[in-house]
């Protein structure tokens, strides 16, 4: 269903000039205490945006508020607006399930379902009424996640037999199978070894032109390598947001400079 939409987007000449998500003065509160404070920025179509900052700065909390995964945490409330294609994600008439169908997520630790590789990919589309060829979709998703060659002969093996890095790519493939408008990644490499991390980073380059990705990372080199835009957060506030080159070479704020040059954090 979203295939056409994506193809349209790919053909779009004004790639990257359009904000898919528009955060306006967003605060996230845990039982009244702010974890994220007054963040405003835009997430651009078909670009990779990374969010960096010291641990506990609220970057994961902010990310989870972008597809309403925070709904499942007790006592969380949101202030401000997050516009998704012009519609407020937290509007009263919004169905969070519809939001998550269109904004996918990859988690910190690989979390494949305890089912076959095939079933991991096919489950999301099938419950959402996908009526095309499932085999093709599974193959396409696994290819996009650079996992196809490694698993094509054992699609019906349990996903739990894969290595950690393979599992994480499977989770990416699973998210891609939904053809999401935006893909959120919450420190996707933090539980992986360096080689698997390199695999995932290569994969991000591959996906760059076709998907809108927001990635949270504590690894500055990773942010510098893979992203087009970088947001630097500290103690719940967005300190600086800009093109990655600019953030890492000519930061405007002193705190940003101190952080990216490794003087703290």
């Amino acid at each position: 269903m979203d295939a056409r939409e994506n193809a349209d987007a790919a053909a779009d000449k004004k790639k990257g000039t359009e904000a898919v998500l528009d955060l306006q003065d967003v605060s996230v509160l845990y039982s009244g205490k702010p974890a994220v404070r007054n963040v405003s920025c835009a997430i651009w179509r078909n670009r990779i945006t990374s969010i960096i900052g010291p641990s506990g700065c609220g970057k994961s909390t902010l990310l989870r508020s972008l597809n309403r995964m925070n709904d499942f945490v007790d006592g969380v409330s949101i202030e401000g607006k997050i516009l998704f294609a012009g519609q407020n994600l937290y509007g009263g008439d919004v169905d969070p399930v519809e939001v998550r169908r269109r904004i996918g997520m990859v988690f910190q630790k690989p979390n494949p379902f305890p089912k076959s590789i095939y079933a991991n990919i096919s489950w999301g589309p099938s419950i959402n009424g996908y009526d095309g060829s499932m085999d093709e979709l599974v193959e396409r998703s696994l290819q996009q996640a650079a996992l196809w060659e490694e698993v094509k002969d054992r699609l019906h093996d349990s996903a739990l037999n894969l290595s950690g890095g393979q599992q994480q790519r499977l989770c990416i493939a699973r998210a891609l199978a939904m053809e999401p408008q935006v893909l959120l990644m919450d420190e996707p490499c933090s539980a992986l070894d360096p080689i698997s991390t390199a695999h995932i980073e290569d994969l991000l380059f591959e996906l760059q032109s076709r998907y809108t990705i927001v990635i949270v990372t504590h690894n500055m080199q990773q942010a510098a390598r893979v992203s087009d835009y970088t947001a630097f957060m500290e103690t719940g506030s967005l300190v600086e947001f800009g093109e990655t080159d600019q953030i890492f070479t000519r930061p405007e704020k002193k705190r940003t400079e101190e952080y990216v040059t490794g003087r703290f954090g």
Binding site: M1, D2, R4, E5, D8, F84, A85, Q87, L89, G91, D93, V94, D95, E98, V99, R101, R102, I127, N128, G129
Partner: protein, 309 residues
């Protein structure tokens, strides 16, 4: 399943596409199932209180709670519940005297001394034994414990409190052993190591450190077992007889609250009369006594959790 017709097309919407009927129906079903447990409690309380009220219209509470003669079926009748309460007390105290030391010692052995292999073997066996139907224990009392007692104490009656207390004690022993073992195992190893490090022997570590630290869980297991003993029916009915008795003796036939309920329901009392209503009055006492003990035990456990989580 729920409606899965996502709004496709290029200009998508994340608005609610109408109610998800399947999801709503299922949620309603789940909620109803959850409420069954509340309804059960309400039904029990309402039923017991309503019927007891009917009973107390006929019999004064003063007579019921403080009377010393329980003769509900004969004329002249007398409705003093104390003999039944006393019967239950004899059985429960007797069972506790047997099961608490043995159960606690077993728990200490399992958690402090037994090798992992022994524990992995003994604990499931104890759990299995905790699941043996109580009528089996009743049979055991009647055909094994009582004959043995009669050779030891010749003037003991065929139905006697001692035999009932012994088998109820055996019956609740696995409960105490397994639950107390859990409680003792929850005591952090670092506490034990700290005690060993200052030169304590294993006896001292166990009795002065581990058992006090796990005491709330251990106490809760005692209370749970005692509550089971109070509510126990078949074993005491078979072993200890149907004679309301207010004597301080373990050697004679007695009647517990539960045994009385069985006696009435086996059809000795005409339905609807006062004698029939005694069923509910006695059951109400039984219900609230066990409820009180269970609440205390949960309260103790709740405090226990605060310490270690």
């Amino acid at each position: 399943m729920s409606s899965s017709s996502g709004q496709s097309s290029v200009s998508f919407s994340i608005r609610k596409g109408g109610l998800r009927w399947g999801e709503t129906a299922i949620k309603t079903w789940l909620r109803i199932c959850t409420l069954v447990s509340l309804f059960t409690t309400v039904a029990i309380v309402v039923l017991l209180l309503a019927e007891s009220l009917g009973f107390f219209r006929e019999v004064s509470p003063l007579e019921f709670f403080f009377g010393t003669r329980w003769v509900p079926l004969l004329n002249p009748s007398s409705f003093g519940v104390l003999p039944l309460v006393w019967g239950t007390t004899l059985i429960t105290v007797g069972a506790a005297v047997i099961a608490i030391p043995l159960g606690l010692a077993s728990a200490i052995y399992l958690s402090e001394y037994a090798s992992d292999r022994v524990r992995a073997w003994v604990k499931p066996v104890l759990e299995l034994l905790a699941g043996i139907p109580t009528v089996v224990y009743g049979y055991f009392a009647l055909t094994f414990v009582t004959p043995v007692l009669r050779t030891l104490i010749p003037d003991i009656q065929v139905f006697n409190a001692l035999s009932g207390a012994i088998v109820v004690g055996i019956m609740i022993l696995p409960t105490i052993a397994t639950l107390s073992d859990n409680a003792l195992r929850a005591v952090p190893v670092s506490l034990r190591q700290a005690a060993y490090a200052v030169g304590a022997t294993s006896y001292e570590v166990t009795t002065r450190i581990v058992v006090p630290a796990g005491l709330s869980g251990v106490m809760a297991s005692f209370l749970l077992a005692i509550s089971r003993a109070i509510g126990e029916t078949m074993a005491v009915t078979l072993a200890s007889g149907q004679t309301p008795n207010l004597e301080f003796t373990m050697l004679e036939s007695i009647q517990t609250m539960t045994a009385y309920i069985v006696q009435i329901s086996l059809g000795d009392a005409p339905s609807g009369g006062v004698a029939y209503q005694t069923l509910f009055a006695v059951a109400t006492m039984l219900f609230f006594i066990t409820l009180l003990i269970n609440i205390i035990s949960q309260w103790i456990l709740g405090r226990f959790r605060e310490v270690y989580d």
